[in-house]
C-alpha cells in the first residue's frame, strides 16, 4: 500500500489519540506524513486529519455562523472542500491554517446563503437556546442579544480571539482581512458589547 512509502500505516493513522490537537513538532511531522498519505489517496490518513482538527474547525465555523447546526454543516462542507483541494496543498505549509481558512470560507458562504433565505429570523435564532430564567442563563441571553446586534465580522473576531485564542494574524488570514482590521474589529466589538450590555443592565 502507498502509505508504507511515507512511513505511516493505516494502523498508525487509526492509533492517533482522539480529540488531542496536533501541536508538538513531532506530531506536526506526523501530520505532514498524514497529509502526504492522504494526497496519495489514503482514506484513513484523511480520517486521522479530520479527527485531529474537527474540534478547532467546529470552533472556527461556530464563531462565524449563527447556530450549532449551521456550524456542523459548515464543518462538513469545509472538510469536503479540503478533501477536493488536498492535491493542491503543499505539505510543508501549516495544514491547520490552510484548513481553517477553508472552514471560514465555508462558513461565510453558508451565512450568505442563510441571509438570502431567512434574514429576519437571525436575531431570534441566536436567542432561542438561552431563555432559562437562571442568572447565568439570563446573562447568556442578554449576551446573545448583544452579539446579534454587532456586525457579523466583529462578532466572529471577538469569538475567535477571546474564546478560541486565535491571534489577530490568524484571524485576519481566516477571514481574509488585514491583521490591523482584525485588531480594530476586536476593539470595536468589545466596545459595542460593553455598551449594549450596560444598556441592558440599566434597563433591568
Amino acid at each position: 500500500m502507498e502509505t508504507c512509502t511515507v512511513g505511516i500505516s493505516v494502523a498508525t493513522a487509526n492509533e492517533l489519540p482522539r480529540d488531542v490537537p496536533l501541536s508538538d513538532d513531532g506530531i506536526k511531522e506526523n501530520e505532514r506524513a498524514l497529509v502526504i498519505a492522504a494526497q496519495r489517496g489514503d482514506g484513513s490518513a484523511f480520517s486521522a486529519l479530520v479527527r485531529a482538527h474537527q474540534r478547532r474547525a467546529y470552533a472556527v465555523c461556530r464563531a462565524i455562523v449563527f447556530t450549532h447546526e449551521d456550524a456542523e454543516d459548515a464543518v462538513q462542507e469545509g472538510f469536503l472542500h479540503a478533501f477536493k483541494a488536498l492535491d493542491r496543498f503543499l505539505p510543508d505549509q501549516p495544514f491547520g491554517a490552510w484548513l481553517y481558512r477553508i472552514m471560514a470560507n465555508a462558513s461565510l458562504d453558508l451565512v450568505r446563503r442563510r441571509k438570502v433565505r431567512d434574514a429576519d429570523e437571525l436575531p431570534e435564532t441566536l436567542a432561542i437556546p438561552f431563555r432559562d430564567p437562571g442568572e447565568a442563563d439570563e446573562l447568556r441571553r442578554r449576551l446573545a442579544e448583544a452579539l446579534a446586534k454587532i456586525p457579523e465580522r466583529q462578532r466572529s473576531v471577538i469569538v475567535l480571539h477571546d474564546v478560541e485564542g486565535f491571534t489577530h494574524g490568524e484571524i485576519g488570514t481566516m477571514l481574509g482581512i488585514p491583521e490591523g482590521t482584525a485588531r480594530s474589529d476586536l476593539h470595536h466589538a468589545r466596545a459595542a458589547l460593553r455598551r449594549l450590555l450596560d444598556d441592558m443592565r440599566s434597563d433591568l
Binding site: 482522539r18 480529540d19 482514506g43 484523511f46 480520517s47 479530520v50 479527527r51 474537527q54 474540534r55 467546529y58 470552533a59 461556530r62 464563531a63 450549532h68 456542523e72 464543518v75 462538513q76 472538510f79 469536503l80 478533501f83 477536493k84 438561552f130 447565568a136 446573562l139 447568556r140 449576551l143 446573545a144 452579539l147 471577538i158 469569538v159 480571539h161 477571546d162 474564546v163 485564542g165 468589545r190 458589547l193 460593553r194 450590555l197 443592565r201
Partner: protein
C-alpha cells in the same frame, strides 16, 4: 488571550458567557459521529468521482485512439506529398526556352507558309 479582565468586574462574566455560548460539544460520541458523517460525505464524493470517471473513460480512450490514428494518417500523407514534390523538382526536365527565343523562327515559318499559300500557281487545268 482574553482582555476582558481589563474591563469592570462584570466583564469577566461576559467572557465566561461567550465561552459558554460558543463552547464546542463535549464527549467522544459526538466527535466520533461527526467524523463518521464527514468521512461518509467524502466517500460519497470519491465514489461519484470514480463512477463519473468510469463512465467516461472508455469513450475517451476510443476517441483518443481515433484521434491518434487520424493524426498519424495526416502526418503520413503530408510527408508523402512533401517527398513527391521534392522528387518532382529534382527529376523535372530543364525549362523550355522562352517565347522571345522562338518567336523569330516561328515568324519565319509562318511567313513561309503564307508565301506558299498566296503565291501564284501554274494553271494545271489547261494541260488536261
Amino acid at each position: 488571550m482574553s482582555e476582558f479582565g481589563l474591563y469592570p468586574d462584570g466583564d469577566e462574566e461576559v467572557t465566561r458567557g461567550l465561552r459558554a455560548l460558543y463552547a464546542a460539544p463535549s464527549g467522544y460520541g459526538y466527535w466520533n459521529e461527526l467524523e463518521s458523517r464527514i468521512m461518509a460525505r467524502v466517500a460519497s464524493v470519491e465514489l461519484a468521482w470514480w463512477d463519473e470517471f468510469d463512465r467516461w473513460v472508455r469513450p475517451a480512450l476510443v476517441l483518443a485512439a481515433l484521434l491518434i490514428i487520424a493524426a498519424a494518417i495526416a502526418m503520413n500523407r503530408a510527408q508523402k506529398e512533401a517527398t513527391d514534390s521534392a522528387y518532382s523538382a529534382i527529376l523535372a526536365p530543364p525549362p523550355v526556352p522562352g517565347p522571345e527565343n522562338i518567336r523569330p523562327t516561328l515568324m519565319l515559318d509562318r511567313d513561309a507558309t503564307l508565301r506558299y499559300i498566296l503565291a501564284p500557281r501554274p494553271d494545271t487545268s489547261r494541260n488536261h
